[in-house]
């Protein structure tokens, strides 16, 4: 039996237009990601990594091409449908953490559960579980500004996984961290992947990329190379 594909994009195109210039961000890009894979996307600045990640995360529309998510074409979904699909299936980890400053650690992690309508008692249980797992339970009532970068990224990862997503999209998750904290984060992502979560990670770091199963290298919106990690 063929291994189940989670993501299949075909001839994906994305342009950015200003009044005078049209920039091609993705140029007929085709990629496949299987369930349970850990894929790293690399490439120089401006090669289309983040654009790709945004489209994969359904935060942005492609201009042309096909995007099959779990066998369903989602390239031209409405914003509402995308939001619905996203909140049940995808978790995000950002370079700059993107925690909400006005909410505590606990409340930040709780937020995705609120938007998916999980009842209050269940939410408390699940948030505590994941905070425990990320070893930041003792910081649950702190605000993001009161935490170190490494701790903030743990909170962000906790928030990304609390809904038990099938896919985690990580945009340079260690970019703002020192190497020790960076390694911790990579270990966490590896653990999650081993438990069955598919991970797609954009990174500049060859070191981090080595944690993945496969590296896709982009240049000018096209795949230039795929390395299978052993």
């Amino acid at each position: 039996m063929q291994e189940a594909k989670m993501i299949k994009i075909t001839d994906l195109e994305k342009f950015y237009r200003t009044e005078e210039v049209e920039t091609i961000a993705l140029n007929k890009l085709s990629i496949e990601v299987k369930k349970g894979e850990f894929v790293a996307i690399m490439g120089p600045s401006g090669c289309g990594k983040s654009t790709l990640l945004n489209i994969l995360g359904m935060l942005d529309d492609p201009d042309d091409g096909s995007y099959m998510f779990n066998g369903v074409e989602v390239a031209h979904y409405t914003e509402r449908k995308r939001a619905d699909l996203r909140k049940h299936n995808i978790g995000f980890v950002f370079q700059s953490f993107n925690l909400i400053d006005e909410l505590t650690v606990f409340e930040n992690v709780e937020l995705p559960l609120i938007y998916t309508g999980v009842p209050s008692a269940e939410r408390v249980k699940r948030v505590e579980e994941v905070l425990d797992k990320m070893q930041i339970m003792h910081r649950r009532n702190h605000y993001p500004q009161q935490l170190s970068g490494g701790q903030q990224q743990r909170v962000a990862i906790a928030r990304a996984v609390v809904n038990k997503p099938k896919l985690i999209l990580a945009d340079e998750p260690t970019g703002n961290l020192d190497s020790s904290n960076g390694n911790d984060v990579m270990e966490l992502l590896t653990d999650l992947n081993e438990q069955g979560t598919t991970i797609i990670m954009v990174t500049h770091s060859e070191h981090d990329a080595r944690y993945s199963h496969r590296i896709i290298r982009l240049l000018d919106g096209q795949t230039v190379m795929e390395n299978i990690m052993i």
Binding site: L59, R80, L103, L111, T116
Partner: protein
């Protein structure tokens, strides 16, 4: 979810304390002002709110002019000729009655001599006595609660005796609650009409004898059309009017609820107001609340950049746009509710004070009335929607991809809207400044300009016994503080008496109406009336029956003389007798400026000198008045000395306008203050946004003045745009308002120059602190903060 919204709302308020403060403070003032205005307007629009008010009419007279007084003969005739009427009541309304209780004398403001039908029409709240019988007998008196307390303390007032007008020994037969402040018939006590009926017989004999203060009210049956009565009035007049009824005589039936607003009946005692004025005040309330909402929108959209990341994160985590709109509206609701609580609190604290300024009865208790609570709820929802919807839509529209990358370029659109809103705020404040200035000028014009007589330092008082005139004159004259004395039937703005005139010799055969004042030989000089031709009024012996008088310009114009000198020596018919014009005086303002000046005849007649007017030296005024009081009181020991300054009397014609003026001043100030709060918030936000730009400019050598200019230039442009919107609106609105008055100012360019100058100064003061602060900041610091 809701808990989360509330939590984040409070945390946002805490983190942005200064903006929250500006918003809440502005909204608080706005809401408090709206509540006060609402209660003021409600007070005016619910005048004469009696149970049967919708079926109650006042019978009035329209013969050449509208008159609310009718003959005492009308009521009994109506009772006979219109048997279907549920009630017909007549009253005699008296100002300044003299009351003696246990050797204490008082002059009260007003009392009503009312027949027994009166209490069937007007449902006063009775605390003691039987409304059906309390006014049946002569010399019965019904006190209001506060007066009963004033006269008798805690003693039971019923059965007590009161000596009224040095004539009537009356017995208290009832006590009613104080009459509400918003009634066209305010009084402190009622006296049975029977008390004066026998003395008024002469006035009751015919329809054309019109006594001042006689009102007739009718109550029509339920579901009965007033037109059925009105259509029979001409026949009724024809039957009962003994003389030939002219075509110009009518008996308009004036609905009770219209009395307060029917300006056709304006005179020196009754000052109806215009409903438009109160709608205008509601308009001001709306402008105030719009100004506060604009602050809210401006500060919220300006801050939206700060919230963009949060919106992006929430969307990434699965928030729907509708959920974010609810969240932002929730935050607005929290702020508005805070403002509401504070606003209601402030309104409660200042309501009675505002009532005092405006001379109306309003108090905090009214805030708990269901209709007011309903209104507060509507206001709250309105404010939440106006202030919250637009920012909620703008903020929730951020695309997560853009907002997480701080790509918020499309904010340019928001800023244009903000500029538009600032223009709107400036325009509102300029309209209010123009409005306030026009009202102020008109008030000054009413009371001080173009009166045609001198009103400074003149006091007037009644004379109870005319046989003592000469003694009084001697007594007053002995006081060095007294500059002049004049006796008359009334000072230039008092007590209008009217009579008919015609001039058959000059083609005026039909009777017309002229005011007539009976004056002594000092009157014209003391009041500074300007003679245009002929002689002044001179003293005449009682035996001298020749009728001579001084006419005013309007009177001679009516007879057909344009040149005053031509009129001197001419004979006309005055009050049915031949009379000679001996002089012509320039027109003077004997009534309020609501009305056109009328014809006036000045005649000597010592028999009707009810009033003494005394011009006093400004220095030692209190001592002089005290001396006058002593002289007067020793001559009239049974009466109580009461005087009034002429200028205060004139001001009393304009109490309604004074109310409006006070309200305009107060609420315009508040609207402008709220606008300043918003402007301050916006400029401080702009300054913080442009810190880096200012730093770079300074590094490149920009002087401080040019940085300050950077901020000021834009606002001066906005103020100018606002002016082009505000000037025509302000002109149009105030021009229309001025048309209420027969005599009014012209709106000159000066008012608009002052308005724009005030607008620029207010903006300059508001923005200068932030602009100077931004300009003085060390560029090293501002660039490092980036």
């Amino acid at each position: 979810m809701i808990k989360n919204y509330i939590i984040i709302a409070f945390r946002n308020i805490r983190r942005n304390m200064s903006y929250a403060f500006l918003n809440v403070f502005g909204l608080t003032l706005g809401i408090a002002s709206c509540l006060v205005i609402f209660l003021i307007v409600r007070n005016e629009l619910t005048y004469d709110n009696f149970n049967k008010a919708n079926r109650t009419y006042r019978v009035t007279l329209n013969a050449i002019d509208f008159n609310s007084n009718v003959s005492m003969a009308i009521a009994p005739a109506m009772r006979t000729d219109f048997p279907e009427l549920e009630q017909v009541s007549q009253v005699y309304y008296r100002q300044n009655p003299l009351v003696k209780v246990n050797n204490n004398r008082f002059i009260e403001k007003q009392c009503v001599f009312a027949d027994e039908h009166f209490t069937e029409i007007f449902n006063y709240q009775w605390l003691a006595g039987d409304p059906k019988t309390a006014l049946n007998e002569p010399n019965n008196i019904v006190l209001t609660e506060s007066l009963a307390k004033k006269y008798f303390g805690d003693k039971n007032p019923v059965g007590q005796m009161i000596f009224l007008e040095n004539t009537f020994n009356s017995k208290v037969t009832g006590v009613i609650k104080n009459v509400p402040g918003n009634t066209s018939l305010p009084f402190q006590f009622l006296v049975s009409f029977e008390t004066i009926k026998s003395r008024m017989k002469d006035n009751m004999s015919n329809f054309w004898a019109i006594g001042g203060g006689f009102f007739t009210f009718i109550l029509i049956p339920q579901h009965y059309s007033i037109h059925r009565i009105e259509s029979r009035i001409p026949a009724f007049l024809h039957k009962n009017w003994e003389k030939d009824v002219g075509k110009d005589v009518h008996l308009p039936l004036q609905p009770l609820k219209d009395i307060h607003f029917d300006q056709r009946y304006i005179n020196n005692v009754i000052t109806p107001t215009s409903k438009d004025t109160y709608y205008a005040l509601l308009g001001v309330a709306l402008l105030i609340i719009i100004t506060a909402c604009i602050n809210f929108i401006n500060l919220a959209t300006a801050q939206a950049i700060k919230r963009a990341k949060e919106v992006g994160v929430r969307k990434v985590l699965g928030a729907q746009r509708s959920q974010l709109i609810k969240q932002f509206l929730g935050e607005t609701t929290v702020l508005v509710l805070m403002a509401l609580i504070l606003g209601v609190g402030i309104a409660a604290l200042f309501l009675s004070e505002a009532g005092n300024w405006l001379n109306i009865k309003i108090d905090a208790g009214q805030l708990a009335e269901p209709i007011v609570i309903g209104w507060i709820a509507c206001l709250t929802i309105l404010v939440i929607l106006i202030a919250g919807l637009y920012p909620a839509f703008v903020q929730s529209a951020f695309q997560p991809v853009d907002s997480l990358k701080n790509k918020t370029g499309h904010f340019a659109r928001g800023f244009t809207l903000r500029k538009g809103l600032v223009v709107a705020q400036f325009a509102i404040s300029q309209i209010l400044i123009v409005g306030t200035l026009v009202v102020a000028h008109q008030m000054d014009f009413f009371q001080n300009q173009d009166l045609g007589f001198n009103k400074e330092a003149i006091i007037s008082m009644g004379i109870p016994d005319m046989s003592k005139l000469e003694v009084l004159r001697q007594d007053f004259a002995n006081n060095p503080g007294v500059k002049g004395i004049s006796f008359s039937s009334g000072a230039p703005s008092y007590n209008n008496n009217f009579t008919s005139f015609s001039a058959p010799a000059f083609g005026v055969t039909k009777d017309d109406v002229t005011e007539v004042k009976f004056i002594d030989e000092n009157y014209i000089d003391m009041f500074g009336l300007k003679m245009l031709a002929g002689e002044k009024v001179t003293k005449k012996d009682v035996k001298d029956t020749s009728q001579t008088f001084v006419a005013n310009e309007t009177l001679i114009h009516k007879i057909g003389f344009m040149n005053p000198h031509d009129a001197v020596g001419k004979r006309i018919r005055l009050n049915g007798r031949s009379a000679t014009i001996i002089g012509v005086v320039q027109d003077f303002q004997s009534e309020s400026k609501h009305k056109k000046r009328r014809a006036c005849a000045l005649e000597y007649n010592a028999g009707v000198f009810f009033m003494a007017s005394v011009k006093i030296q400004p220095a030692g005024m209190v001592r002089t008045i005290d001396h006058i009081n002593k002289s007067w009181s020793s001559l009239f020991p049974n009466d109580l000395f009461k005087y009034e300054f002429l200028d205060e009397h004139i001001a009393s014609f304009y109490t309604q306008e004074q109310k409006v003026y006070t309200a305009f001043k107060l609420f315009s100030f508040i609207a402008i203050l709220i606008g300043c709060l918003g402007l301050y918030g916006l400029i401080s936000f702009t300054a913080s946004q442009r810190t880096k730009e200012i730093g770079i400019r300074k590094v490149l050598g920009a002087p401080i003045m040019s940085i300050i200019g950077l901020f000021s230039k834009e606002f001066i442009l906005l103020i100018s745009i606002a002016f082009f919107i505000a000037a025509p609106i302000g002109y149009y609105a105030m021009h229309n308002w001025l048309q209420n008055y027969a005599y009014h100012i012209n709106i000159g360019a000066g008012i608009f120059i002052i308005a724009i100058a005030a607008s620029v100064s207010i903006a300059a003061i508001t923005i200068s602190y932030q602009a100077i602060k931004a300009a003085l900041i060390n560029p090293v610091n501002s660039l490092r903060s980036e």
